[in-house]
């Protein structure tokens, strides 16, 4: 928006909430559109996370660990303990625990993009001719729902693997209310609602928190941008510093907590897939 006039508040916010896409999205659901900015930051942060950890893992020593190794080990231990407590099959844990670790670190990094100054990366991008850039991938509903959908697929996989395909179908129709032909449709409907509710709430919780956080950072940034030499605008500018500091500190908690919640729910849902009703 390198136009002559400064953007209005609504222009500023809607500009910041517009994804860099291959083609402009007009309908609510359009599978030919892809959010290039979300995918770029998501993949970049994901690769950063796994390659740094893989490099460390390759040099991991059973002797005295370095500080970085110790830090990663603390996280790995934490995830391994949680997985052990929730998913009781050691065979499944070989896959589920790494999934939980990946999810935790990846989402933490994606959330942490929120702590960068809200205009920093978009302005850098604008300098090289990219006029839209949303830097927090988890504040993109597609990203959050994409991950919760992946968790749903894992749940279905384990449902079938543990109970057998017939066993799972049987459970879909006989649980939670009981094995009676009159109850079959009600049971099935309940199960479907459960799966949809789990998956949507799983993704929406993360998306909602990060989206709201991002929006508030934008509003705080506008307080700072209100500086116009008058006393009132000066107060707004000072208020922007205070509010930005407080919100950023609070957000350190939010980003960690949301990553942890997403990881825990992933484990819980997969753990539930292992249990028969």
């Amino acid at each position: 928006m390198a136009t002559a006039h400064a953007p209005t508040a609504s222009e500023y916010v809607s500009h910041h909430l517009t994804h860099l896409t291959n083609i402009k999205q007009t309908s609510l659901v359009d599978l030919s559109v892809i959010d290039i900015d979300s995918m770029f930051f998501s993949i970049a942060l994901g690769l950063l996370a796994v390659f740094v950890m893989a490099r460390l893992a390759a040099r991991a020593t059973a002797g005295v660990p370095g500080r970085f190794q110790a830090a990663v080990e603390i996280m790995v231990e934490m995830v391994a303990d949680q997985a052990k407590g929730i998913v009781h099959s050691p065979e499944s844990r070989k896959f589920v625990a790494p999934v939980a670790l990946t999810v935790f670190i990846w989402i933490f990094l994606m959330n942490a993009m929120d702590l960068l100054p809200v205009d920093l990366l978009p302005m850098l991008a604008a300098a090289v001719g990219i006029h839209y850039a949303r830097v927090v991938p988890t504040a993109d509903l597609n990203v959050a729902l994409g991950m919760s959908l992946a968790v749903l697929l894992i749940c279905i996989y384990y449902n079938i693997k543990i109970k057998g395909f017939g066993g799972w179908i049987h459970e879909l129709f006989t649980a939670p209310f009981g094995n009676h032909f009159l109850l079959y449709p009600i049971n099935f409907a309940m199960q479907m609602i459960e799966f949809v509710a789990k998956t949507v709430s799983h993704g929406m919780r993360l998306f909602g928190n990060m989206y709201a956080g991002e929006l508030i950072f934008m509003l705080i940034a506008m307080m700072g941008a209100a500086w116009a030499g008058t006393f009132g605008s000066g107060l707004l500018w000072v208020g922007g510093i205070f509010a930005g500091t407080i919100w950023a500190i609070f957000h350190i908690l939010i980003i960690t907590l949301q990553a942890f919640i997403f990881m825990m729910l992933t484990l819980v849902y997969i753990g539930q897939a292992h249990e028969s009703h």
Partner: protein, 156 residues
């Protein structure tokens, strides 16, 4: 806030990253952790063993010390006994040698005295004969009276 293909792209990326972590991140770190656990367990066991070994060695050392002291005492007692025995023997031997020397000396002295007595006897006999010769020069013939003189000599 629209749904689009990003959703499925993210889903695929999710599985790729999860697979990568499962393959290259999780196992080596868990292996290192497990190895460290067993290392620490081994170390603690070794420390316990070393402690009991030390106690054992200390007990053995005191035993050895006690034994050494006992045998030293034994040796000293034996040496003392032997020394006094040798001393006694030496004393007895010395006494024997002194007695023998005295006996020998006494025997020698007896012989010497006997010899002196004989010499003296001869000389006294000669003196007596000479005296008698001076007295009886005129009337006594030595050859005639030799029988008498030797008889006298035997009496001395």
């Amino acid at each position: 806030m629209n749904l689009n293909a990003t959703l499925f792209a993210q889903l695929v990326v999710f599985f790729i990253l999860a697979w990568f972590t499962m393959k290259f991140v999780w196992p080596p770190i868990m292996k290192a952790l497990d190895e460290r656990v067993s290392k620490i367990a081994d170390g603690l066991a070794a420390a316990d063993k070393a402690k009991s070994d030390l106690a054992l060695a200390e007990r053995r050392a005191t035993d050895e010390m006690r034994k050494a002291r006992e045998s030293a005492n034994e040796l000293r007692a034996g040496a003392e006994r032997q020394g006094s025995q040798i001393l006694d023997e030496a004393r007895t031997e010395a006494a024997r040698i002194i007695a023998a020397a005295r006996t020998a000396a006494e025997g020698e002295a007896d012989v010497a005295a006997q010899r002196a007595k004989e010499v003296l006897r001869d000389q006294v006999a000669l003196l007596a004969v000479a005296g008698a010769e001076r007295i009886l020069r005129k009337e006594i013939n030595a050859a005639v009276h030799a029988d008498l003189i030797s008889q006298l000599k035997a009496e001395l």
